[in-house]
Amino acid sequence: MLILEGVGKAYPGGLEAVSRVDLAIAPGSFTSIVGPSGCGKSTLLRLIAGLDRPSAGRIEGRPENEVGLVFQDPTLMPWADVWSNVYLPLRLAGLPRAAAAPLIDEALALVGLLDFARAHPRALSGGMRMRAAIARAIVTEPALLLMDEPFAALDEITRNKLNDDLLRLWRKRGFTAIFVTHSVFESVYLSTEIAIMTPRPGRIHSRHRIDGPAVRNREFRTSRLYLDACRAVSSDLEQAMAESAR
């Protein structure tokens, strides 16, 4: 269980990005953090990743050395091909190429990039670059996968496809997923849990459980359950915005 207790982050100069965040995230769950731009979602993710230290509260139960991270940009090394980019986390851990190869090939196969292992990022489409970034994040078989609006820059068709692929990946690997997004629809489609954040300083406004089917597909996207959940999350999000405006 990943537990955040009263977590806050204030930057020198007084800017408070997140404040008093309490959150418990069950192993194997898929949690989306939804909120408006600039509400500190990304800051919260960085705190969970251990890239920044919280200035208040504490974070417990982070699986050390078992965290994968996907940014909004693919953030690939332009000088290296897809294979070498995916190899990076294993290489930094000291794993030789030969030993890493089966893991890399498996990760590439899972995101459908096996045929593009020798391509350089420049030669790939935006969606394929993001797939490469995801392959890199899962190649270490992390227990916790953190994603910061990974599909925000993609067109809707590509995003829907990647949503389905991500869910398939999540079911297969069973990692805990924390997914930051500003899209209500995306969060409802993907998640088992949704946490709604208020504008800056970001606090958790409310939480939702999405009791959708285990396997989600186009049918789920048009189901009553999905639409009701979207409505509920949207209305809470509006409330969160209004509360902070007061």
């Binding site: 960085r46 990743a49 251990g50 890239l51 050395n65 965290v67 991270l69 940014f71 940009d73 953030t75 690939l76 090394m77 332009p78 000088w79 290296a80 091909d81 990076l88 986390p89 290489r91 930094l92 851990a93 350089h120 990022p121 420049r122 935006g126 270490t140 820059a153």
Partner: protein, 255 residues
């Protein structure tokens, strides 16, 4: 088509030059026509090429030394603010002091019996700074997301340097190398000029010598070789740049 434009301009200028020198009857020790320069170039080719070889050898040695030295110092700078704070001002002093002004001193110190040492040192002094400043800039221009990733996976300092900082610095480093190669040639020439008679055997000395003897066509011939050498150096590094950076272009500008 436009790639041949410089060539066309060059031919037109040469033709105008040749024609006007002949029509106006300009003495050949003031401005020789291109045809005479070509003649002098062919007549003196073995001697001039030997001199060019001498100058190029020292230029390349100095370039390689300044490249490695500049890169090494830049790595130190990026690792330690303290070292950068203490040494950077002196590197700047070396950079802003005109090389012509330091040259006599260096020649007196090390060049009286060994001109080539003075040439090497002076060429290195001028070629050093562009590598240092470009490398320091390049080593710091790391994608912040990638830097985060290296931190997430607990990369060692060595891994960060070899797998992240040096590759990230490559474009800036090559740009610095291009400037620095040109400057190394300038440094060699200045040193040969200042060292003057006797020991110097490089191309710049041939220019001084020809000037003293009013052998202006030979002087121009030496000049042509010197410019060609500079162009060749520049071209060589451009080719290297294109090869090494062929995967980069476009990768950063797009989202």
């Amino acid at each position: 088509m436009t790639r041949y434009l410089p060539l066309v301009v060059g031919i037109i200028v040469l033709a105008l030059w040749e024609a006007s020198v002949r029509w106006l009857d300009v003495p050949k020790f003031v401005l020789p026509p291109p045809s005479l320069i070509a003649e002098a170039l062919i007549a003196n080719l073995p001697q001039l090429l030997a001199a060019l070889g001498e100058t190029l050898k020292l230029t390349l040695l100095a370039f390689v030394a300044s490249f490695l030295g500049g890169l090494a110092l830049a790595i130190l700078f990026v690792r330690s603010r303290l070292i950068e704070r203490s040494l950077l001002p002196y590197a700047v002093v070396l950079q802003v002091t005109p090389i012509v002004a330091i040259a006599p001193l260096i020649v007196i110190w090390v060049g009286v019996d060994h001109v080539e040492r003075a040439v090497f040192i002076l060429a290195m002094v001028v070629a050093f700074f562009p590598v240092l400043s470009n490398a320091s800039f390049g080593l710091r221009s790391v994608d912040p997301g990638l830097a985060d990733l290296f931190r997430l996976y607990h990369a060692t300092g060595r891994q960060r340097l070899l797998l992240l900082q040096l590759p990230s610095a490559l474009p800036a480093l090559l740009a610095g190398a291009k400037i620095s190669a040109g400057l190394a040639l300038i440094g060699s020439v200045v040193a040969e000029f200042v060292a003057g008679s006797g020991e110097a055997t490089g191309l710049a000395w041939r220019i001084v010598e020809s000037g003293n003897r009013l052998e202006i066509p030979r002087m121009f011939a030496a000049l042509v070789l010197l410019s060609s050498a500079g162009l060749a150096l520049n071209w060589l590094i451009s080719v290297l740049e294109r090869r090494l950076l062929r995967h980069w272009h476009g990768a950063r500008s797009e989202a």
